[in-house]
Symmetry: C2
Subunit: 340 residues, 2 copies
Amino acid sequence: MAIERTGRPTIRTVAEDAGVSRSAVSKVLCNAYGVSPELRARVVASIKRLDYRPQTAARAMRGRTFTWGVLASEIHNPFFADILSGIGRKLEGTPYQPLLGVSQSSHETESSLVEAMLDRQMDGLIWIAPRVTSDILHATARLVPTVFVAYHEAGSEDFDTVNVDDEKAAQLAVDHLHSMGLRKISMISVNWPDRVGAVPHLRERGYAMAMRGHGLQDLIEVMHSEESAVDVGALTARVLSRRDRPEALLCWNDAAALEALSEAKRVGIDVPHDVAIIGIDNTAFCRLEQNSLTSVDVFAEGLGENAARMLIERLDGRTTAKHILLEPQLNVRRSSSKNG
Amino acid sequence: MAIERTGRPTIRTVAEDAGVSRSAVSKVLCNAYGVSPELRARVVASIKRLDYRPQTAARAMRGRTFTWGVLASEIHNPFFADILSGIGRKLEGTPYQPLLGVSQSSHETESSLVEAMLDRQMDGLIWIAPRVTSDILHATARLVPTVFVAYHEAGSEDFDTVNVDDEKAAQLAVDHLHSMGLRKISMISVNWPDRVGAVPHLRERGYAMAMRGHGLQDLIEVMHSEESAVDVGALTARVLSRRDRPEALLCWNDAAALEALSEAKRVGIDVPHDVAIIGIDNTAFCRLEQNSLTSVDVFAEGLGENAARMLIERLDGRTTAKHILLEPQLNVRRSSSKNG
DNA sequence: TTGTAGGCGTTATCAT
DNA sequence: ATGATAACGCCTACAA
């Protein structure tokens, strides 16, 4: 019986235990042709008895790792956690293991995280809300099957994308506010690398389009803050203290909207009476009574599930790109309702 | 020039480019002895020119992967995100890459996630808030260097632990409530696998000890809910609607406390006047005005940094166990203050 | 149907 | 100081 350095049984151990060749074991593992039921049974029994599991590194040398890299730049936002849940659920029962790498801004850059994933031979990548330039995305996708979530480039042949219609999400919000008779609707957005397909960009566009659609083009106002919570808070505080304060604030995401709620409360401005506030993402915190934040649901978990499905299809051989666009849905709560 | 299947340069490509042997390149990569400055320079130049990076799978076959597995059962709680931030920060500039695996309850079990990590030859594990039995933890730690965060077993020789003093955290909360003249202090805890070293268990103990310390042993009341937000909400609603409603609720973590705030608001019970509410973890949401939740800081990011430091030390050769216990710190906010 | 042999990219041992 | 060589565990032609 072969004794291995690691103490783990190897394919060799199993072969000896079952009294067959190593390749026989391998064939059983890969569900390959040319193994008799009897031989298979013996091998399966040995595998079970020895508690054998193939070593990913060795497999990687010959092909696949059964490992997916999931890339995110931030995970404090529950939006990312929801996506990950969706991926995890979809991968249940498959041999694939998703592993999350986080590129904390200012720490590890996104590109070096991608390199780390490539070095580790991930079978595929799910990349959430990328910030780097489009050419890097294409270059990456040509090296390894990649699905982008929260990044729009429906024309790309190199990769799949899975998104909610972010323009429409913002439009739904504006339409709702307008239907309440509000006109001075400003938007709080975020400083983000200026990419055409970036989510903040599209949400800003949707806002502007909707405003124009209602004849409010003169009232269009988009303000940008850094991503940090304190910056969002400071910006909101400035806006709310203005004499010509807007009647409503559309925040580019829930995190910003929750900060806005906080600032409004701090300075004693009533929501929604003095100012209505709307977020986008419809994360779990919106539901809490102290927030009761109107928000546009972007079905983050569904995004994750779809992304996983796309990648499975790719690994199963699909070569043409697919681009999925889910319908957003408005959830009205107290932060923007008349009888709030 | 060797052409590789993957299109990536290999150590062989570099060797040929630099006109040296593969072992020479390897030695440069590993900072091994016996390479002349001149040879090293040539190799380094080739590595840079070819943009060569070693393949992790191949390295794994010979030893290390420079990859750490981080295990968590849930990531919606920002507590986990903070820990991960701490790990990431500490690992900046090191060759190690942390990758997060999530064992969503009811989906993938924790044990199978551990197996996935072992199959992928992680150099080390950081395991946050494990739920499985202690013997599994020991068995795992004997296979691969492991640091546990948010799990107490200071006597273990097999692994390191990094924690805040969870008993004391709960005590601080009770002491504070008691100092406000409150006596009927109940605790909302969670159904959790009944492990001696589990965080909910210790926080419950700390609560009970503090109550006894103040002569309030007859008022000790610990209620348990499932982890899901709706369950916490339902339990809180029941408690708040009781005629003999407690004067204060100590929630085992912030997530539960935020739900409690929500329910209180829903049924029109004023916080803190009618009931004071305290959480533990001091996650970012406590700061928001609409929550203004008193909470005990457990320095999650510090936990992450310490865990990373412990694991680095292990990989550098330390063989004796270390157990770190940070001091918690109370942060009083409106949800428990007299002039709230 | 089954087994043999070679190689994936890297590191470590041992000659030179 | 440098280089040849042998593993590591697995998969896949190909041979029996």
